[in-house]
Amino acid sequence: MSSLMLTLRESMRYRGRSGHWSWLAHRISGLAILGFLVIHVWDTANAFFYPEVYQWSLAVFKHPFFGLGEIGIMAAVLYHAFNGIRITLLDFKPEWWKYQQKSATIVWVLFFVIFIPIALLMFSNIISHCSELAAEGASCWTIPRLSDFLQ
Amino acid sequence: MSSIKTHTFDAVIVGAGGAGLMAALYASKGAKVAVLSKLYPTRSHTGAAQGGISAALGNLEEDRWEWHAYDTVKGSDYLADQDAVDILCQEAIETVIELEHMGLPFDRLPNGKISQRRFGGHTNNETGKPVMRACHAADRTGHMILQTLYQQCIKNEVTFFDEFHVVDLIRVDNTVRGVIAIEIATGEFHIFHSKAVLFATGGWGRCWEVTSNAHSLTGDGAVVCLRRGIPLEDMEFFQFHPTGIYKLGILITEGVRGEGGVLLNDKGERFMERYAPTIKDLASRDVVSRAIYLEIKAGRGIGGKNYVHLDVTPETVNKYLAEAGETRRIDRAYIEAKLPDIADFTRTYLGVDPVKEPMPVQPTAHYAMGGIPTNVDGCVVIDANNTVLPGLYAAGEVACVSVHGANRLGTNSLVDLVVFGRRAGRHMAEYCQGADLLPLPEGAADEVVAEFERIRNNKGGVKPYELRKRMQHTMTENVGVFRTEETLSTALTELRELRQAYQDVEIDDKGKRFNTDLLEAWELGCLLEIAEVTAVSALARKESRGGHARDDFPKRNDEEWLKHTLCHKEGDSYRLDYKPVVIGRYQPKERVY
């Protein structure tokens, strides 16, 4: 166990160049997406098996907390996708290795260029959702109860 | 000290550079062999050799091994033993081919053969012009040889004891019984009990301030033998390579000049035209080193400092190629392909791009021509009658066969390693089959263990590093490229003082594990001893020959000095003795390039 902690710690401490950070980001984003995907898939399946539960969960996911998480997952998918393509290309085209640093930078730039407007858009959706609720006298911060959905 | 671990083998090889590994490959074919090395084998300094390994393959132009032999003898200033030289040059051819068959990645010609290039002192005997004889793999020939031999040892399952520092030889009368080594990682002593021992521990350039040699080249093998009553031969001959990086000593291979590079002084003159009109920059090393010194002395060092320029920029090289009427031209890509490591060194350490600027160079302590005297089978001989000490062998730089005489030609060391490493290995395997394992003497390790305990616990307050610095300084000043009675006597006085002071050396690390503090202090003892032997031998030789240039005796004197020096250690002092040189086809004559 101590060696695991050591490995994890040193993986963060090592001052590798871009590739090292790309790898960390790729790994973390991949795991994050998977975590989300598991919940998402089992939840969506409820639309068929337990529609009420599904409706409740849709309501829960409207909570700003999940809204922010969704932005995070968006980031993870975008970065992971672009970087995954980069890795695939470099693996199949060894002669492009000299562009490794450049390609890592390109991935980050591409990621930010696409992600930032999307994040703003998604964030504004959360805000408008909350202000709509506020106008109705409700709050987007309250967590819906499952019992309200089970007739 | 009965708890010392003992290992038994037929033969023990000390050192895993080119010579040790080649010997190991051959010895292990007929005997149970252990290879002991204080460094991981691939860290040996053979890996630093750059330019090439000569063999008269004639892949590009006509060449003959006899020409190679003549060049070697001439390069040696006629001090080489010509029977050994013939073997060297003849077997060079098959050995290089053997290396290729072991997988060594030589550079190739368009027709698929091994590529060759020019090197200092190697000529076509009929025209006197430089000949392409040095087989190479870019400028990392030594690296490839070392790697290839190590790979073959792995393939043949040779037994290695890596990071075992050999500190003593077990000799009883005229027999050897093994060696004593320290396992560096644990600090434990081990006895290696064997029928035969081979030393291939390399050189001792670390006696000097500016050197191309590794920190580990401290002459251990030579000193261990010296202390056990074996004389050292021709120790006054130490080669100063003309082109070391200024101040750092890192070597710039002669291959640079082989590819067309030239030496320039402050005025931009190609001064070698004056010192060696025929082959100019490719004269042998002693000649070029002296020329550089004389230029510096005459105030023509760059900016008045003590270095000159080595210029391999395509502009300069092409200019001189055109002048010489050659059609060949070089460009950036050619330099990058043929001299990649040199370019890397100068860029890393000097910030100088050799494609665009000349490199600052000065002579650097490089190679020990002398060493443990052996015959052509690597058997150590202990007197002027060439009496063999059965079971004891030496090969490589630490040995003196002698094929290099007073000055070694570039590329001939690598040849020496593999040719005589192979012969020694072969002979040793045969010897072991006929010899008995003699019993170990009582308390074989007591003496050396006591010496280590003394160093470990000593409280004299003298830092080893200060002594080393002083030794290196005096050796550079007084036992360098040029010497006189006066400088040599000064050096001797100081070295004796240092030897006294060495008794008061105190180290910080009192532990056992990986105690490099202790080992370095012991190595310093070796260096001091070698330095003194060098100075003693040099003081006695009242002539100038090859690498030994006496300002007070500027001429070679064949009448009195065409002989090898043997330096014996007797108690605390040294006794000199001489043995004749084997002359063959080539009678000594004046040496002009």
């Binding site: 490995t7 090592y14 001052r15 590798g16 160049r17 871009s18 590739g19 090292h20 790309s22 790898w23 790729h26 470099l90 693996d91 085209k93 060894p94 002669e95 290795w97 490794q100 | 991981y40 691939t42 860290r43 040996s44 300094h45 890996g47 630093a48 098959e94 081919i97 290729e100 997988g103 990645p105 030589f106 550079d107 190739r108 010609l109 027709n111 698929g112 053969k113 990392r140 690296h143 490839m144 790697q147 790979q151 073959q152 393939k155 590794a214 920190h215 580990s216 890192i250 490591d341 060194f345 890393t348 350490y349 590093y465 910080d508 690390d509 532990g511 594990r513 990986f514 490099t516 503090d517």
Partner: protein, 241 residues
């Protein structure tokens, strides 16, 4: 200039756990190498400091260590390259390489590394008889060029110990061993390529490489390590060498 040198120290004979040794060195020339600085500490200040070194110019592979967080050879890393130009003060941090057991201070146990090296059969295999004329096997310069890069390896372990996959699991053969395998797999004279591909194509072979590039960036011989690994992967996926 002045350098504050921080060195990760550990002597299992005395210390319970590793500690940082801090040393101040004055009159440092920016052209000094980190090895020069370590030597100054060892020779002038504290002789117990332990490290490996030999050639002092980057060809023997003894002194791979972690300098300012990333692997490099101490003798090939000049102070000038670690500081901003014209700086008069600098902090330099030196640690042992990761993933191999520390023996003492900056010295690690290299055995596991060499075991991996040996596992890829890093030697020339050709059982066909050599040419009858007693001469060299021929090889075109183009064939020779294919594996030129990987012949440069000095087995310093800077690459393998910079690789997160190797830190995570020491059973991964690591980039250095793959470089060595590449050296022979792509040598047209060698006949052992299938055996070697089997070793590096196994569970702890090239598939553990996640294309991180730390190895390439750490290699003091400027070997295109990741490229070599990718070429081996490609040989394994296409069946063509």
């Amino acid at each position: 200039m002045q350098v504050q040198l921080r060195i990760r120290r550990f002597n299992p004979e005395k210390d319970e756990k590793p500690w940082w040794g801090e040393y101040t060195l004055d009159n440092v020339n920016p052209n000094d190498s980190v090895l020069d600085l370590l030597h100054r500490v060892k020779w002038e200040i504290d002789g117990t400091l332990t490290l490996r070194r030999s050639c002092a110019h980057g060809v023997c592979g003894s002194d791979a260590m972690r300098i300012n967080g990333a692997n490099a050879l101490a003798c090939k890393t000049l102070v000038a390259r670690l500081i901003k130009e014209g700086a008069t003060q600098a902090r330099i941090q030196v640690e042992p390489i990761l993933g191999l057991p520390v023996v003492k201070d900056l010295v690690v146990d290299m055995e596991p590394f060499f075991e991996h090296y040996k596992s890829v059969k890093p030697y020339f295999i050709n059982n066909s008889p050599p040419p009858e004329n007693g001469r060299e096997r021929l090889q075109s310069p183009e064939d020779r060029a294919r594996y030129d890069d990987t012949t440069k390896c000095i087995l310093c372990a800077a690459c393998t110990t910079s690789c997160p996959s190797f830190w995570a699991d020491g059973r991964y053969v690591g980039p250095a061993a793959i470089v060595q395998a590449h050296r022979f797999i792509f040598d047209s004279r060698d006949e052992g390529y299938a055996e070697r591909l089997k070793v590096v194509g196994d569970t702890f072979g090239v598939w553990r490489c996640r294309t991180v590039f730390n190895c390439t960036n750490a290699c003091p011989r400027e070997i295109e390590v990741t490229k070599a690994i990718a070429e081996v992967k490609r040989a394994l996926t296409t069946g063509k060498v």
